[in-house]
């Protein structure tokens, strides 16, 4: 996709040479990890195309949207309500944070020992590698974890366009009041930036678009319960990653078309791996695109990932929100309530997440759970203990992984994951 977009990238202020390098690495990784998979559904072709145009055609679309007077809103967290962004005719984009890039530049501002996701979003910006962040009119951050909230201060110094939502860390009455007020404040901010009022009609329309998108993602998630699994975990993860930056209406259509195909696969007993293949649920820190490392290791070891209890996964679509508000005020309250059902480890206590993991393991017939924490992602690293204790009650095998985006620990991770699968298989045989 190189030459034809060069002018656009230059005008966005990207570092052309480094960006070219990044695209080459991405293409290779995608070839090795994705296109080499066997038995992929036809419907994945659309998502392959989206990835091949991730910094190309999609950016052209965004530029066109901007020319029509629309604003681009970059986000890093599920807690930023997409309904509100769509209600001001905005485009919601989950920003780049899933690869080791711009590390040297990022480390001018950040400590070396910080979570890879934070280092990556700073690196993408500082190295001039993310056309999305360059296209954004407003970057909406949130105070989920200490690393992010402090990094946003610096990101704002550099870009001058960061707005931060204050997240409660307890789902108490006071916490809820704070969150409701933060949602109303965001609505006002979006109106100010876009110059568009949020009307009831707009809010209902926006919520209907998001409702359809969540419904499609729920449908995909439910199909993964079948044995044999009709789609690989890698492909399902990719779709969840794409959900953060594709056009939501088109994305929904494409996911539903894929699900029609998967329906037929399930009916005919067709899968990506033989029936009886060990099934794994992954739970923990988000896997921002193009972070495919753990799924590639797990599925490369002869198993299938059947679900992600993750922000890039189930947490994104688990709770629906009925798009029939009676007033803007009621709509904002309903939105605030819906978002507080997301069980992020930044909350204390966070027992809901433990129940979610149990329920998913059961529903998806997972034989084991792999807990994934990004190194230095303290909330998930610490919560891993509770997850382990809770899974122990139902004797579901559990493995804890802490890693980052680098490839240096691939050998160790592979040994751990393979040994875990051996333990699972021994358990299945008994």
């Amino acid at each position: 996709m190189s030459e034809k977009y060069t002018e656009m990238w230059r005008s966005l202020g990207l570092n052309l040479e480094a960006h070219q390098g990044l695209l080459a690495v991405l293409t290779d990784a995608y070839q090795g990890i994705y296109l080499s998979q066997k038995n992929r559904p036809e419907g994945m072709k659309y998502f392959d195309f989206v990835i091949s145009e991730v910094h190309g055609l999609r950016i052209v679309e965004l530029v066109e949207e901007k020319n029509k007077g629309k604003q681009i809103f970059g986000t890093f967290c599920l807690y930023v309500p997409e309904e509100l962004i769509l209600a001001v005719d905005g485009v919601s984009i989950g920003l780049c944070a899933g690869a080791d890039v711009g590390t040297e530049e990022a480390e001018k501002y950040l400590p070396r020992n910080i979570c890879a996701l934070i280092k990556a979003f700073m690196g993408f910006k500082l190295a001039g590698l993310c056309p999305y962040v360059e296209s954004s009119d407003l970057i909406i951050g949130e105070t989920t974890c200490d690393g992010k909230k402090k990094a946003y201060e610096i990101l704002n110094e550099i870009t001058g366009k960061v707005y931060v939502m204050e997240m409660p860390h307890m789902k108490s009455e006071e916490g809820k009041r704070l969150w409701h007020s933060e949602v109303r404040k965001l609505a006002a901010k979006l109106t100010q930036v876009s110059g568009k009022e949020i009307t009831l009609e707009k809010l209902n329309e926006a919520a209907a678009v998001v409702w359809e998108k969540r419904k499609a993602l729920q449908r995909l998630a439910a199909l993964r319960a079948a044995d044999p699994a009709p789609i690989s975990g890698l492909d399902a993860l990719l779709i969840n990653q794409v959900s953060f930056y594709d056009n939501p209406v088109r994305f929904t259509q494409m996911v539903n078309a894929l699900c029609d195909e998967l329906d037929a696969r399930v009916k005919n007993g067709v899968g990506v791996a033989p029936k009886g293949t060990p099934r794994i649920l992954v739970s923990g820190s988000p896997m921002a695109i193009p972070n495919w490392k753990l799924h590639a290791i797990i599925e490369g070891s002869g198993t299938v990932v059947v679900g992600e209890e993750s922000c890039v996964g189930e947490r994104n679509f688990k709770t629906q929100l009925d798009p029939h508000f009676t007033s803007v005020e009621q709509g904002l309250a309903a939105i605030a309530e819906r978002y507080l059902t997301i069980n992020c480890a930044c909350f204390t206590p966070n027992e809901g997440r433990l129940d979610d993991i149990q329920a998913m393991a059961e529903r998806l017939h997972a034989g084991g759970v792999i807990h994934y924490a990004l190194q230095f992602c303290t909330p998930y690293m610490v919560e891993a203990y509770k997850v382990k204790e809770n899974l122990g009650k139902t004797a579901i095998p559990y493995l804890r992984i802490e890693t980052d985006y680098s490839m240096e620990d691939m050998g160790q991770l592979k040994t751990r994951v393979e040994a875990f699968i051996e333990v699972m298989k021994d358990g299945m045989a008994r």
Binding site: R416, A419, I421
Partner: protein, 255 residues
Amino acid sequence: MKSGGIDIGSRYIKYVILEDTNLSEVYKLETGYDPLGTCRDLIDKTKPDRLLATGYGRHLLQAHHEVETITEIRAVARGARAFFPACRTIIDIGGQDTKVVQLDGKGSVAHFEMNDRCAAGTGRFLEVMARTLGFDLADFGDHCLGNGDNLTISSLCTVFAESEVISLIARGVKREAIAMAIHQSIANRVVSLVKRVGIRDAVVFAGGCARNRCLQKIFAEKLQQPIEIADNPDILSAYGAALMAREAVSNSSPD
């Protein structure tokens, strides 16, 4: 029938041949820069009827010779259990990994833990430290003096730990006392892994570092129980792999 188990570790390749159930040949060669060549030579020389690969380099052999693989965790479990039928906990300190494995009553792996990505708490750590202090790795454990009181090596990282050691040397601390502190540092790290997994009798210490008498002693003290060590502790994984090759359980390999 000849069954082979080959354990391609980060530092050494260990290779065991069983004639039926009897241990007939044992090899230990440096992994070096051409492990595949070394493995080929060994296989050509011994011509096993069945072969199973384990260890860090297992996939290398799998990719080039379609040899089935198992992880070193399962292999060491099988090998340790063959030598010590009552074994329920294994501490295996290899070149770049430290593993603690808990077995159920039948000898299957119940839980395991491995060190984090860095080399602290592994054989490599001991090797670097022995060199820094001018000792041979082979008898490093025999040069520890005192009980390490007043001295601690606290760094999480081998490189930083080495500079801690160098600053102790610069302070004029006897190298035997530093050696003790180093052994305690590695042992503390391993013991925390053991506690995470949970300890059950009997405890077997495997891997090349199991020959280190100072580590043996510290583990016995800290875990408050006797530690079982095979005469040839670094071949337990290869031995386990050979036994499993013989039993033709290779079809349960994950790949």
